[in-house]
């Protein structure tokens, strides 16, 4: 702490305060999050641990940098680069005009952040405007990895559906899915896209049910065609059938290609939702007007009393996601892992983000990336006909090895496995259950 000169308090959160500070030697302005260790029964808070664990490994221009961590008195201090504002402030600020070219630029940066997460095998799980920090120079970075986790390893077990702030939570999570992939972050990015266009939240649900209601009102209720298998999700609720009105009714000013991309980002079926790579390659970003250069973006309003990030208001995330710490517990098993392969697998095998060349560079020993995928082999041994419902059995055992080695998965098989994943999990009694506090 002696290396820093303390500045104003930026916010107060559930785990401690966030202050602004200046590194005495370099003069760099930083934000210090102090996490109080106190007498917590479980030691260092899982949220803090996740943030440290992931941010120590990620060095990317679109992800906030964790500069230092040190214990100080009864605190653990996390030092971040300081950013002046965030996307939520910008959207809410009536005085700021956000042009279509600006929206394009912001969305490009949002997607770049998502790409960085995916390339590092991380699901952020709390994508929302206030977690995108903006600097005066126009740069934008994703922050708050307290709910994030690694994906793609069959060992990693069941994921909680109690993540994301409700307004940005994807429908599969609202229906209680515990097997999901990077598509969940894409949904939230779609909501941000809409919010940039509308200048207000698109789906401001009051309850989880109301949230689904608002989503289906805008996008239509899911059907067997539009989202096969959704009725099998653990907390599926049937809504009175409605068809989607044209997006144009809501977004009157938006360009055609903007709406085309938006529709792909908020596909109800996570298996059909656009991948981050495809989204970045979408014609929308190449069409006129060109995305504004970062330094020419509107200057964000400086937060008056806003903390480093929203969750430290002690608010929304935590209320929205009460069960976070007790979930994600025991490796709920191999079958689950199998289901998880879907998105991860295509990423690993065909190398979107994890190219084959990396994967096979043995002299550097990076087998871990395939390994996480390839442990599917063990699954293979266990998933024998008889354990599974008909559909799935075919999907998993017949093409398994080939599919894993080939470039990407068929969208169809993806959907099936996702939709059946939860049921299978429920049926299985695993020896790990006793550690599973979820």
């Amino acid at each position: 702490m002696e290396h820093y000169e303390k500045g104003e308090k930026l916010g107060q959160g559930q785990f401690g305060v966030v202050i602004k500070a200046r590194h005495i030697e370099t003069g760099q302005i930083v934000a210090i999050k102090k996490i109080h260790l106190g007498n917590a029964k479980e030691g260092i808070n899982m949220t803090a641990l996740r943030e440290i664990k992931l941010l120590r490994e990620i060095d990317n221009p679109f992800i906030v940098r964790l500069l230092d961590v040190f214990p100080h008195k009864r605190n653990l201090s996390l030092v971040y680069e300081y950013m002046d504002s965030d996307l939520e402030c910008l959207i809410r600020d009536r005085a700021t005009i956000i042009s279509p070219a600006d929206v394009k630029s912001y969305m490009q940066m949002v997607l770049q952040s998502l790409l960085a997460c995916k390339q590092h095998w991380v699901l952020h799980r709390d994508i929302k405007p206030s977690n995108f920090l903006i600097s005066m120079q126009g740069g934008m970075k994703l922050t708050d990895f307290g709910l994030a986790r690694m994906f793609g390893s069959p060992e990693s077990g069941r994921y909680t559906h109690q993540v994301f702030t409700r307004w940005y939570r994807p429908p599969e999570l609202l229906f209680g899915s515990t097997c999901y992939g990077p598509a969940c972050d894409m949904w939230a990015a779609g909501c941000i896209f809409a919010e940039l266009l509308l200048r207000r939240a698109w789906f401001p649900g009051d309850t989880d049910l109301d949230q689904l209601g608002k989503i289906f009102q805008a996008l239509g209720t899911p059907s067997q065609d539009s989202w096969p298998g959704c009725a099998c999700l653990p907390q599926y609720v049937e809504f009175q059938t409605t068809t989607a009105p044209p997006l144009r009714n809501t977004f009157r000013q938006a360009s055609e290609d903007a709406l085309a991309l938006l529709a792909l980002m908020v596909a109800l079926d996570p298996g059909r939702r656009i991948s981050v790579e495809d989204a970045l390659a979408h014609p929308y970003f190449r069409a006129d007007p060109k995305p504004t250069l970062p330094e020419q973006l509107p200057k964000p309003p400086v937060r008056a009393h806003n903390p480093l990030n929203q969750s430290f208001k002690g608010g929304s995330v935590l209320q929205a996601a009460p069960a976070v710490h007790s979930e994600d517990a025991g490796p709920a098993g191999d079958l689950n892992g199998k289901a998880l392969h879907l998105e991860p697998a295509s990423a690993a095998v065909n190398g979107d983000g994890v190219p084959n060349q990396k994967r096979l560079k043995i002299e550097n020993g990076d087998y871990s990336s395939i390994a996480s995928l390839s442990e599917g082999e063990e699954l293979h041994e266990k998933i024998r006909p008889g354990n599974l419902s008909g559909d799935l059995q075919k999907q998993v055992s017949a093409d398994e090895l080939k599919a894993l080695q080939e470039i990407g998965f068929e969208a169809g098989s993806t959907r099936h496995i996702i939709s059946h994943g939860d049921q299978r999990l429920k049926k299985r009694k695993l020896n790990f259950d006793e550690h599973d506090h979820g």
Partner: protein, 352 residues
């Protein structure tokens, strides 16, 4: 996460020389601090009995355990981690992470500063959290009959000792990947005439895999994970598994090298890759042999007694004198100048 850009690859792989010098430097520091404490104790009370109650012979000094002794102790506790992980039904990645944490922690710290058993428990607990195979501190301690508080109090220090680098890569995951590849290769060769892999039966593969996992476990007990990337450790374990079932590994290695060559950007010739891998595997094999020899509880206890005696002496020195001043002095000598811990907390931990 990609291994190439990971903290594991950037900060936690050493050459044998680096590893030796890191340890030697640390060992010297602690030995000097200990000698100083002893000198002061003897100057103060030349005829007084030592802390163990036996009369102190003039000139007899308590010898701190050597690096080799420490290695024995650490290996013993790494083995205990594996036992506990089996008992808890933790997946291999938790075991590997816990052992890696333990090994890394004692690169920077001496067993004289922090009791290995307690640190081991803290590492295991942390590994469970990090790898999302969480077991509550209360439950874990209940089952191991340990004090929760000890473990939780050590957590920040363990984190700091690890430099907050928490993502580790295990040979076990890589191993599973290689066997996956093997099966795919076999299938691909099924129709072709180049049937190098066809002599290996499914039964053999299954047995080899089991043996290879055991070999990976053995490697985890040695320094090999600090010297070689997990992929190479896995290949060595795999070859060991193949030898066990008397299957030929050459063909498999050649296939893996071919795939690596095809995918590598540098287009390194296959022979080179094969040669590099073979060389690495051979050096790893020596560690495997070492790792498969268990440390008996008796051996470990012997070292542990010496460690405890030194710890006792240090604790005594800090208690005998005006507490605050002395303690900070001794502790900071032990820890180098870097400590930011409050003294009161340190004492409590070292007193155990």
């Amino acid at each position: 996460m990609n291994f190439e850009t990971s903290s594991h690859s950037k900060r936690w792989l050493f050459t044998p020389e680096e590893l030796a010098s890191v340890r030697e430097e640390r060992h010297q520091r602690v030995a000097q601090a200990l000698a100083k404490v002893q000198g002061e104790a003897q100057a103060q009370q030349p005829e007084a009995p030592q802390s163990n109650g036996q009369p102190a012979k003039k000139g007899k000094k308590l010898r701190p355990p050597s690096l080799a002794d420490e290695a024995v102790l650490l290996k013993y506790y790494k083995g205990r981690v594996q036992e506990m992980c089996r008992a808890f039904g933790f997946p291999a990645k938790v075991q590997a992470a816990a052992i890696t944490f333990l090994a890394r922690f004692y690169l920077r710290h001496s067993p004289l500063e922090h009791d290995v058993k307690n640190i081991m428990l803290a590492c295991l607990y942390l590994a469970g959290k990090v790898e999302e195979a969480y077991i509550g501190a209360e439950e874990m301690c209940k089952r191991l009959q340990q004090q929760e508080e000890t473990l939780l109090n050590l957590e920040p220090q363990v984190l700091q000792g690890l430099g907050f680098d928490l993502i580790t890569y295990s040979p076990h995951s890589a191993l599973a990947g290689f066997f996956m590849d093997l099966r795919a290769m076999k299938e691909a060769q099924h129709d072709s005439s180049s049937a190098a892999l066809q002599d290996i039966t499914e039964q053999q593969i299954g047995d080899a895999k089991k043996a290879a996992r055991a070999a990976a476990d053995a490697l985890m007990l040695t320094d090999a994970p600090l010297l070689f990337p997990p992929g190479q450790l896995a290949l060595a374990a795999m070859r060991s598994g193949f030898n066990k079932v008397k299957a030929n590994f050459t063909g498999v290695l050649a296939e893996i090298a071919r795939k690596a060559g095809a995918a590598s950007a540098a287009q390194a010739p296959r022979e080179d890759i094969c040669g590099t891998l073979k060389a690495a595997i051979s050096s790893i094999d020596a560690f495997g042999a070492e790792g498969s020899q268990a440390v008996s509880a008796e051996e470990a206890r012997k070292v542990d007694r010496r460690v405890k005696a030194c710890q006792g002496l240090i604790a005594k020195a800090t208690v005998d004198k005006p507490v605050k001043q002395q303690q900070t002095q001794v502790q900071s000598e032990l820890n180098g100048a870097s400590t930011t811990e409050p003294p009161s907390k340190r004492l409590k931990l070292d007193d155990i």
